[in-house]
Symmetry: C2
Subunit: 279 residues, 2 copies
């Protein structure tokens, strides 16, 4: 199977590394950055790299898109005539509903586009931070469309498990965007708000424990990617922010009222939920 | 040096283990739970354990209190006549201002009480979850009072570094409580509010990445301890919650207004702060 990865950043680079480790040999890479391609070739995680995909796509059985959400549509418009018949394309975009609507209008009928989302990543950009470890034990969401071929869905699902993911779940695009707003985007809003609410010029790093360290880890954000993801999932994200604010408010009120019993009630609920989370 | 640890939970037990590893041999334990004492004796992390401290305190050079904040004052009232002259007592309580006022009214003049706070812990209770790893590389805050002997302060500080902590910082009790509200208590409020704002009955655990996992880890809380800590630091905590809410609101407004530039501005600020955090 010939695989072409488009975009060799943290996600694309990690795919290349994980595929190599799983024994895939015919993996090729497309990236706008020559330096990145050289690194990938030197590390032997791709057989060959190219700044455009035209030639590579003609022989590709599977194309993995690991580029910014807004670039997916442009990429398809620019390349749809180069794909061979029956090619599977899969993406790694963090929001789905609007993307799927756009993509289905562009791609030829003989191309099977399988929408996917690896629930894994890193706070750093670029191939230097790619690692097959990023995917190890992580969750993956596929949002099938009516046009997907079942055998192709199975092929992609198996490949995902083969390269280290723990679980593949299928969701509608609507459910995907709803739950991602909560499990991924809201934590990023919180991390940003926490660290930005610190007082200026205080030597905070000397007075932190693991809790602050963990909660702000993701405050180091790729601002272009995340502003796109937030605005592309606006309604869902606003809703979960508001639900979160209500819960903060409950805790705040209990503190204000010196209501120990209420606090204990909230903490018991959160403890039970946390313990049940990954069972 | 004879050391008595009062309360062999996660913190006290971790002290015992870390002291043993650092070569201290005359370490004794006091705990209300006989089972805990047996475990500690069996693991040879204490030389001897007792459910009351009366006999042990007579020979103690250093007493480490790792009990609930509200119990510290009771403990001192009940035991102040058993300490030998010159004994150093140190606590591990997460809030300081009110505690220090209370304690200074009780302890005899010939006892040196050094107020300390290890910025480390675990989400579980009890000696089974104690480990010297808990302290490894962590921060420690000491809040000296005018009554502390400088040599004793040095002794405690050196011991803290010896058992694995990375850094000891000195703060006034007021500054301590202010910064702890922000770096420790606010993250716990956030974690509780996040997980409690999840919709009931959703299979959330299947759709999470590291961000949600990290942000909710501390949502599994010892409810008695944390309700005490929150209410004991009420004004500082309410203030940092409000600052945090303001920042959440800025992000929310930018999303509502589709203001990508504002989002990018907030993300850049948070990224710069996160990168500077532990330099």
């Amino acid at each position: 199977m010939n695989i072409v990865i488009v975009g060799l950043g943290v996600i694309g680079g990690s795919f290349a590394k994980a595929l190599k480790k799983a024994g895939y040999e015919n993996v090729f890479g497309v990236d706008v950055d020559l330096e990145t391609l050289k690194k990938a070739e030197k590390a032997k995680i791709i057989k060959k790299g190219c700044t455009t995909g035209k030639e590579l796509f003609k022989k590709a059985d599977l194309i993995i898109l690991s580029i910014y959400p807004r670039l997916v549509v442009d990429f398809l418009n620019n390349n749809k005539n180069f794909f061979k018949k029956g090619t599977i394309i899969t993406d790694t975009t963090g929001i789905k509903e609007t993307l799927i609507n756009d993509v289905l209008q562009i791609i030829p009928d003989d191309i099977d586009f399988i929408f996917g989302h690896p629930m894994a990543g890193r706070e750093k950009k670029g191939i230097d931070f790619a690692s097959e470890q990023v995917f190890n034990g992580a969750n993956y969401i596929i949002t099938p469309t009516g046009r997907n071929n079942i055998k192709n869905l199975e092929l992609v699902e198996n490949l995902i498990l083969e390269i280290g993911f723990k679980r593949v779940k299928k969701l509608t695009s609507q459910k995907h965007d709803e739950i991602i707003a909560f499990t991924s985007q809201l934590p990023h809003v919180m991390a940003v708000a926490l660290i930005n609410s610190d007082e200026e010029g205080r030597d905070t790093g000397k007075f932190i424990g693991d809790s602050y360290r963990d909660l702000t880890r993701i405050a180091n954000m790729n601002e272009d990617l995340w502003s796109e993801l937030f605005l592309g999932n606006r309604d869902n994200l606003l809703k979960v922010i508001e639900n979160f604010e209500s819960e903060v408010n409950l805790v705040k009120e209990a503190i204000f009222n010196n209501d120990k019993n209420k606090l204990i009630e909230y903490f018991k609920k959160s403890s039970i939920r946390r313990e049940a989370l990954e069972k």
